[in-house]
């Protein structure tokens, strides 16, 4: 395996069993390079979100193998995976999913506090920088449930970036954003891949967003259609 591979999947198969057995992902194999900005597209029901959850290690019910940073993650325990996610993966959900009781900045700080590598002050500073980057300077100390949908989405992105993860994954990370903020997020992602060599894998419906990324993978009925 080459040294510049960030993530690779071999022969990924996944089934849903309820209400009846149904194969969602069929024999999927591909590699993602370090510093690559990858988008996943496909009709709804094509299995792209399901695949992203497998890649993010949050779903372990699959056949095949998953490697991130040359570490084999298939077969690891829940706690090992949690620790791995904490350090190497940032995830942005389709619907923001913040802790509503916490302020925006507290939400952003959580993964870093869990990682525990930096002092609380440092973490707070980084969190504030991330929020500023996403245009949320003013909202930093507001309670998460007082923010608009778009603002919450951006807080979630800031949270995904806090530990400088080697891979950032997003399930329609710009789905709730207006065009201006979508462009802003896109620029940020682009910069992260170019300047810091972080890898981005994002599921999107946004044609423009996909076209401007480094590579687009299309899924249809659980099969890999196009991998340009």
């Amino acid at each position: 395996m080459e040294n510049n591979i960030a993530l690779s999947v071999n022969n990924l198969n996944k089934y849903f069993y309820d209400p009846e057995t149904f194969q969602v992902l069929k024999n999927i194999s591909f590699d993602v390079k370090k510093g690559e900005f990858l988008t996943l597209i496909g009709k709804s029901g094509s299995g792209k979100s399901t695949m992203l959850y497998v890649l993010s290690t949050m779903d372990t019910d699959y056949e095949g193998e998953l490697f991130i940073n040359r570490t084999k993650l298939t077969g690891k325990t829940q706690n090992e995976l949690a620790a791995f996610r904490n350090a190497y993966i940032g995830f942005v959900f389709q619907f923001h999913y913040l802790l509503p009781e916490f302020s925006a900045i507290d939400n952003v700080m959580l993964p870093a506090l869990k990682l525990g590598l930096k002092s609380k002050e440092e973490i707070k500073e980084n969190a504030f920088q991330n929020l500023s980057l996403l245009g949320l300077k003013e909202q930093a100390y507001k309670s998460a449930n007082k923010l608009s949908g778009g603002q919450q989405q951006r807080v979630a992105i800031a949270r995904a970036l806090i530990n400088n993860p080697s891979i950032i994954m997003g399930d329609e990370p710009t789905g709730n954003l207006d065009s201006k903020n979508t462009r802003n997020v896109f620029e940020i992602f682009k910069e992260l891949t170019k300047e810091r060599g972080q890898t981005i894998i994002a599921v999107t419906h946004d044609e423009e967003f996909a076209q401007n990324s480094d590579r687009t993978i299309e899924l249809a009925d659980g099969e890999l259609l196009r991998s340009e």
């Binding site: 949050m58 904490n86 009781e101 993964p111 506090l113």
Partner: protein, 415 residues
């Protein structure tokens, strides 16, 4: 090292963000614990009162000289079964009544560690007479101090004073029913005559009422030495030695142990009162059943509400896991919440249970010798209920959190 702090912050946020739910959970703990405390206190109070009432005239163990065993056929051992024997009008010609040298027995009894009180009595079957009225009854010669220690007799004295008896050799304290039947008042004279035909007059210096008609209508107390005089017996003669022990339910065992060293009949209260033993046993079983039921009902209540609290937060558990929080963090977060709810709810439960118990203990209930409803305040009940409440809350927080911590976050997120 940071995560402990973060976890407690999350736990605290959960508790305060939904104050209403936290309050409901806390209240379910409070309710369960206070209910347990109150019901146990009340049950024990009732049980104790019943035991107290039963043992107000009866000791746990009685030592007395039993009538000799069956002697209707003295020749039985010395003849063959095919021989015909005819004995008519068999009579016991020599029989020692009562216990002659009581000091030795009293000494021996007082040395037993499980015995809490001993009192000698000289009980005589007499006729009470006043003018034309003759009533059959029991004249009880007693030691004033030790009798009171065993039976709290002084609390039943309605007129006069129990202690007056100790310096009035001609005084007697008689049952209220007996006084009424014989038209006698305080300071009147009561004439008694024994089976042997001795007659003596006593001054009524007190009237008692135990509310047990059989006692109130037939019993009178005099000093033990006066009773001995009446029978022309010496100063170590007694008819009964009444003994109380630490735990009345062990009377049988203690009686069996004593029987080997005392040459008289040693009888536990259960032997003399089979029906009372049954009711006591049943009462204890009932108390246990009630206590268990409350424990289970309260336990399920607490468990349900804690389970609900965790399940409402299940989505947040998934997000935390997605961000890299491990199973232990999740369990820690919810155990911390359980701990806070358990401690606050438990403490409130103890206070609330005590208040209810105290209030009920003040409700008037003037039947027999009772003034208010009975209640016990045992530290054991309070500690046990608190421990139980904490334990249930802990388990109820732990199980769902543990379950949530072991599944893929995506299963929760997808719903």
């Amino acid at each position: 090292m940071m995560t402990g702090n973060t976890n407690s912050k999350i736990a605290f946020a959960h508790l305060t963000s939904r104050l209403r739910q936290t309050l409901v959970a806390t209240m379910s703990v409070t309710f369960g614990i206070s209910m347990y405390i109150f019901m146990n206190g009340f049950m024990n109070g009732v049980n104790n009162i019943q035991a107290d009432l039963s043992f107000s005239t009866m000791a746990h163990i009685r030592v007395y000289n039993d009538l000799p065993e069956d002697r209707t056929n003295l020749l039985k051992q010395h003849t063959n079964p095919d021989q015909v024997i005819n004995i008519r009008n068999a009579k016991v010609i020599q029989y020692t009544d009562g216990i002659k040298n009581s000091e030795k027995i009293l000494d021996r009894l007082k040395k037993q560690p499980e015995i809490t009180g001993v009192t000698p009595q000289v009980n005589i079957n007499v006729f009470y007479r006043n003018g034309a009225i003759k009533i059959n009854g029991v004249l009880s010669g007693i030691e004033v101090d030790s009798e009171d220690r065993l039976f709290k007799t002084s609390t039943f004295v309605q007129q006069g004073s129990w202690n007056d008896l100790s310096y009035r050799t001609d005084g007697t304290i008689i049952g209220a029913g007996l006084a009424k039947k014989m038209s006698l008042k305080l300071n009147d004279n009561l004439v008694v005559s024994t089976a042997d035909g001795v007659t003596k007059s006593f001054r009524i210096i007190g009237i008692f009422k135990t509310t047990i008609a059989g006692v109130d209508n037939t019993k009178a107390y005099i000093k033990i030495n006066s009773a001995r005089q009446l029978l022309s017996e010496n100063s170590s003669f007694v008819t009964d030695v009444q003994v109380n022990i630490r735990d009345y339910s062990k009377a049988r065992e203690v009686a069996d142990k004593l029987a080997s060293s005392i040459p008289y009949k040693v009888e536990a209260w259960q032997v003399a009162n089979g029906q009372m033993e049954a009711t006591t046993e049943l009462r204890n079983i009932l108390a246990m059943a009630v206590s268990m039921t409350i424990l289970i009902v309260a336990g399920f209540g607490i468990y349900n509400i804690m389970n609900m609290t965790v399940n409402e937060k299940i989505r947040e558990i998934a997000i935390l896991k997605a961000m890299g929080f491990e199973g232990n963090d999740i369990v820690q977060i919810f155990l911390l919440q359980s701990l806070v709810i358990g401690i606050i709810g438990g403490t409130a439960g103890i206070v609330f249970g005590f208040l209810i118990s105290t209030a009920v203990n003040h409700i008037p209930f003037q039947v027999a010798t009772l003034q208010t409803l009975p209640m016990t305040f045992y530290l054991k009940d309070y500690t046990l209920s608190f421990i139980f409440g904490m334990l249930t809350t802990f388990i109820a927080g732990y199980l769902p959190a543990k379950k949530a911590s072991t599944i893929d976050p995506v299963i929760i997120i997808r719903g």
